[in-house]
Amino acid sequence: MKTLVLVEHDNTKVNDATLAVVTAAAKLGEVHLLVAGHNCGSVAEAAAKIAGVGKVHVADDAAYANGLAENVAPLAASLMDHHDAFLAAATTQGKNVAPRVAAQLDVMQVSEILSVEGPKTFTRPIYAGNAIATVESTDAKLVITVRGTAFEKAATEGGSGTIEAVTGAGDTGTSIFVSSEIAKSERPELTSAKVIVSGGRALKDAETFEAVITPLADKLGAAIGASRAAVDAGYVPNDYQVGQTGKIVAPEVYFAIGISGAIQHLAGMKDSKVIIAINKDEDAPIFQVADIGLVADLYTAVPELTGAL
């Protein structure tokens, strides 16, 4: 099987998410890459060095500079005459482009795969990870997005892919990139953070949340999250919300502070490697999933913990 992997990049370097996709693609067959961008020669060269890579198709055109799905999807679809599977990372970029490619090929996409079970069989999470489905595609070609945390990253050295220029239809003229604001916070982003400190409704108000949660997060270089209850109560902005309708996270260590552990919240964080819960209610459901639990008043316990670390 010949696979085509969409390389995610910023026209200067390859995004790490692509490396996990290469690993998934290698389980299916030969790995070819697609670099669509503008003045993206350095990306193509780096991509060719990824271990196990064959051909690297490079489309260098102003129309592909910002990865607009309207322009990139037809290009990818046009290369699928010679490939059997199209794979992209289950990132906002991959999720934006892949279904458009699938619809153009009249293929039902397999979203966010966790494993490759056979040439056309995959596992994927449904119901926010509360169930895992094993699905088999009956389509002639495959279109797949890959959950990055489920596959090892391919090595960035050791490959000797051949770079080949390709051209597509270019700009479809229906969409224009205006601007991007990529947060340059000192704090890591929630979905990629190694450590997350989350607070719940027990934090009382915005000031208390800040006073209790922020110092611990600063100490650990952690991202800050919150339960829906804390967000609804206005302690923190919406984008802090971890849960089924918020962000799905899987850090190395997740601190749940004053969070009771509603199903909705657990769905967003239960794949964390280590869960640490601090709650004064010893019967709180969060303790059923926590690896380390402390039944204590968070107002004294958290500052004490922060001070001792």
Binding site: T92, M108, I126, D139
Partner: protein, 248 residues
């Protein structure tokens, strides 16, 4: 301008889904069902655009069982003008949903189609993008802000690590993210009024769409169960554990 808003009836987000013992799927019998939360945000956004004068009519569409009428009535009670139910008892995959919506869009000629970015049931995150491809129109996925201006719409999108703004020629497809708005609750008088609003019932065959699934579900299983760990006695013991993790 007309806005088309597809809505899906799904298991309520506060209910824990249970995998059926025979591993064929998730048990939906006697479970509370609600409108998909991202679709509620889509309905709300359409109503706000109408209130601002950017839209004139809102048509809600659902593809699902007869009971999806309730979901459509919710959309009507919130402020949609009329509804279309494409009735089927089969599981309909995103590709088939997109094909039905494409056929409806051909008939209705909306300026905007606003959908939830994904359903909280199968979590595919595909329908909006597929519809955009089938219509050959631009897409503003994971919308954080939507502004209609003449014959274009400017969408601020939630992307990994920040925001991206794109300007799309109408007609366009928008999919909603969580921060776009906070959906209103329907008032009792509006719930009563919604019962009088028109709701047309159709079938997939009316639109010439084949619903045969392309993906075979071989098995649905519980994810690996997390075992509760240990409780520590005091903060000092916790500090020791945290230090042992090598993060502090």
């Amino acid at each position: 301008m007309k806005i088309l808003v597809p809505v899906k009836r799904v298991i309520d987000y506060n209910v824990k889904p249970r995998v059926k013992a025979d591993g064929t799927g998730v048990d939906l019998a006697n479970v509370k069902m609600s409108m998909n939360p991202f679709d509620e945000i889509a309905v709300e956004e359409a109503i706000r655009l109408k209130e601002k004068g950017a839209a004139t009519e809102i048509v809600a569409v659902s593809i699902g069982p007869a009971k999806a009428q309730e979901t459509l009535r919710t959309a009507l009670a919130m402020g949609a003008d009329r509804a279309i139910l494409v009735e089927t008892d089969d599981e309909v995959e995103p590709l088939a949903v997109a094909k039905i919506l494409k056929a409806i869009a051909d008939e209705e000629q909306p300026g905007l189609v606003i959908l939830g970015k994904q359903s909280i049931s199968d979590d595919s995150n595909q329908t909006g993008q597929m519809l955009a491809a089938l219509m050959g129109r631009p897409q503003g996925t994971f919308a954080n802000t939507v502004e209609v201006d003449g014959d274009s719409v400017t969408v601020k999108r939630e992307v990994d690590g920040g925001l991206q703004t794109v300007k799309l020629a109408l007609p366009a497809i928008v999919t909603t993210d969580l921060r776009l708005n906070e959906p209103r609750y329907a008032s009792l008088p509006n719930i009563m009024k919604a019962k009088q609003k028109p709701l047309a019932t159709k079938t997939a065959a009316d639109y010439g769409v084949d619903l045969t699934p392309r993906l075979k579900t071989l098995k649905v299983a519980e994810p690996p169960v997390r075992q509760a760990g240990e409780k520590v006695a005091d903060v000092a013991a916790l500090v020791e554990k945290v230090k042992a993790l090598g993060i502090a």
